[in-house]
Symmetry: C2
Subunit: 455 residues, 2 copies
């Protein structure tokens, strides 16, 4: 590590301790055995922990002057290697920037390093809450979610982060000798959202808020998965019933949720329901033949859904891995049933109902026992054959994931805010190739098929 | 009028003044030239104005003992003859029952005669509001809306009144010598909702509430109606953008809104948009080439939409009348464009975007210069040929309207709460036929085609 770079940082806390470098160079990409292998040994050389925006500016300037690669990091809960430094250099841990900047009736502006859970707790004191959050809410940061996330608990009402109106504005610092502070608003926020942190250092984010209803953590079990999926769709599209989470799981997935002690062999719907419309919800559950086994004040049930489902499954059985897919809006239930009938023995279906492009549909995160690339490719193709679109959740390359369209405007913006291509070089193949090139598992992973759904 | 009946009422205020009888026997069915003719001369013999639930019970008992037909009445803003007494007898004006019973964080219970506008004003003081309301909010009553309405401003978010969770409960009084007080909850509320007040006297209603965002009355104009319709759908399905009203009008309809002074020849979208997501909304309007000509704090713009659109049109041109239809969910925009292309010169399209059965679609209320039954039938069929479902808005017969399915459970309930069939006899053909039989215009109107959409 360049000593001039370190001394340019002044009193900004930093660490070159080996254990710290290991921990702060990792994220949740261990979910994928393929990405784990591809990212093995990628380490930062220094961890920087700025406490103020001024310190972030100083870091950006120092990186530009000394040509030091850098990666922004929140809590490291991303699944796609967002926080893993591909080319060494500095990890910029943003947790010190954790202040709320201002609060309005239905919006909030806060620093990027604030934990979503802490932010949400604060908002709820006055009756509002985040429109959506990942299952890692307690750990994950605002900047990390906006930079590397796409949807979550609440998306059944509000769609995905990319949708107009779900991110109101953000401030970022360019990686230049004299860094600029840019405020992006309106459609421009999507130049930075879901770009995995390669487009400048985000220091503040402005979000709209949702009403904080009195949520009930609720479980409904069904003898048959198909019926559970139908119920999930009916609830998700039941406009009069308050809901925040509709997560449906085929057996054996409920068995992985040990503390919930769900009945063997049954499909389970994990839900958050508004107390005011509980009777309407109960009538719907009865109409679908579901058995309500839990309905209690909010107690963290969401930590068995979205990404946490995969985590609980992997804890129970380390041989499991996953795909990420989206069912077609025209025939959501038909495609779910066909996939379950044809592949259900091998790929256990986990559905998250969410609004997507204005229509209710389900994201699928099927779990299966990993047997290698051949199996993975076969499953990709079998899902696609039923009209299901697949994202490649096993590559760390931004555009190969199939989730983000990197158009000319996006590339031009990247070049303007990071002219020396210092932000995690290797993340955007073709633009800033991985030092040493891409090969082995990483290359194979990048070449997995992806039908894409640009979220 | 039976003197024993009148004396059984005791001190309940009542009137047999001819002017009062005329006014209180009328509603907004004058919107339809056909229904106007069919209902001409239908008059109550006495207007009763109870002030308490006890007085309503006394009225129910007296009607049952003395075999006096009765009609419940709120403000008389219904369009389908809901408040017109078909068989004389008593009109029971519920405006004296106007108290809020209780208030919870996200729900409210109030007496049936409270005006929706007064209720909404009170709710908004603490940040909540009605999920939906008719354009007649200022006049219309809670009981009238639940008894004879179906949707309104807010339905773009919350669907229609019938949807599970949009009516939490209601209390009604049966028409028996010893009236019973029934509390209906869950799915049972739909035994009374939209039954045009023939299933008992509703005295209290419990509704869920919505967050009262800071709404902006907004108008966007477009050179071309098709583009306005596309914009309307994009806004309605734009999950991140706060909206409460998406109402799109083909020229010449905007010309009927004199005080708004809209530009000649252009299509207009009348909207309510949340202030917090205004920038996102503006980006969307730009993307569709619309020109925002108004964006101000809420000032009653909704009184040009839904039923009020028809009223303003009729004020401008008394020869106009209307159809009520719903565009197919699978191809909403396609059907709108086909209908506009084929019939737009004759039938001017007015669209209200709303969630219906869990999906966004548009209700259409096309306006046209009335030329008689033959034209009406031709237009019905031309709309149906494009996949659009039509309700019969020109009959006062409940089931011929095509909006309410009267199944066996519904009929059995009617018989249990009104065993002598005293509630507006003639409203439910086949069950309690119109005294003197149905003939002339009323019969012709009942026989207009209706493809039905059971709301």
């Amino acid at each position: 590590m360049n000593d001039a770079f370190i001394s340019a940082l002044g009193d900004i806390p930093h660490s070159r301790d080996a254990a710290a470098l290991r921990v702060k160079s990792a994220d949740f990409s261990w979910f994928s055995p393929i990405m784990s292998a591809a990212l093995a040994g990628r380490l930062a050389e220094v961890v920087l922990s700025p406490r103020t925006e001024e310190e972030v500016v100083r870091i950006a300037s120092a990186c530009a002057r000394h040509r030091v690669p850098l990666v922004a990091r929140g809590a490291g809960t991303g699944n796609f290697g967002q926080a893993v430094p591909l080319a060494g250099g500095a990890v910029v841990e943003m947790l010190g920037l954790e202040k709320m900047v201002w609060r309005r009736p239905w919006s909030v502006r806060a620093q990027a390093g604030i934990r979503l859970g802490a932010l949400d707790d604060e908002l709820r004191k006055s009756g509002q809450e985040l429109r959506m959050h990942p299952s890692t809410k307690r750990l994950a940061t605002l900047g990390g979610f906006v930079g590397g996330g796409h949807a979550g608990v609440g998306s059944v009402n509000w769609g995905i982060l990319r949708d107009r109106g779900n991110i109101l504005g953000l401030k970022l610092i360019t990686i230049e000798e004299t860094p600029r502070l840019l405020e992006l608003r309106g459609d421009d926020v999507n130049l930075v959202h879901h770009a995995y942190g390669v487009n400048g250092l985000v220091t503040e984010v402005e979000l709209p808020l949702a009403p904080a209803y009195e949520w009930l953590d609720t479980i409904v079990v069904f003898d048959c998965f198909e019926r559970a999926a139908e119920f999930g769709m009916a609830l998700a599209t039941g406009d009069g019933i308050l809901k925040k989470l509709v997560s449906v799981h085929a057996w054996p997935i409920p068995g992985f949720f040990k503390p919930l002690q769900l009945p063997a062999g049954k499909a389970a719907a994990l839900l958050m329901i508004g107390a005011e419309t509980r009777e309407a919800f109960e009538a719907l559950a009865r109409a679908f033949g579901g058995e309500i086994t839990l309905c209690v004040p909010e107690a963290g049930l969401y930590e068995y859904t979205w990404g946490h489902t995969t985590m609980h499954a992997l804890r129970a059985d380390r041989s499991l891995t996953y795909l990420v897919c989206i069912f077609p809006r025209e025939d959501t239930l038909g495609a779910i049933k066909r996939v379950h009938a044809k592949l259900g023995e091998e790929a256990f279906l986990h559905l998250e109902y969410k609004r997507f492009n204005g229509y209710m549909t389900a994201e699928g995160v099927p779990l299966f026992r990993y047997q290698g690339f051949e199996q993975m490719t076969r499953l990709y193709k079998a899902f696609e054959a039923e009209g299901v679109r697949i994202a490649n959740a096993h590559t760390f390359l931004l555009q190969n994931g199939g989730m983000k369209e990197l158009d000319a405007a996006q590339i031009a913006f990247k070049r303007s805010v990071d002219p020396q291509l210092l932000m995690n070089p290797g993340k955007v193949a073709g633009l800033d190739d991985l030092p040493g090139g891409i090969s082995g598992t990483a290359l194979e992973a990048a070449q997995l098929p992806a039908s894409g759904w640009a979220y």
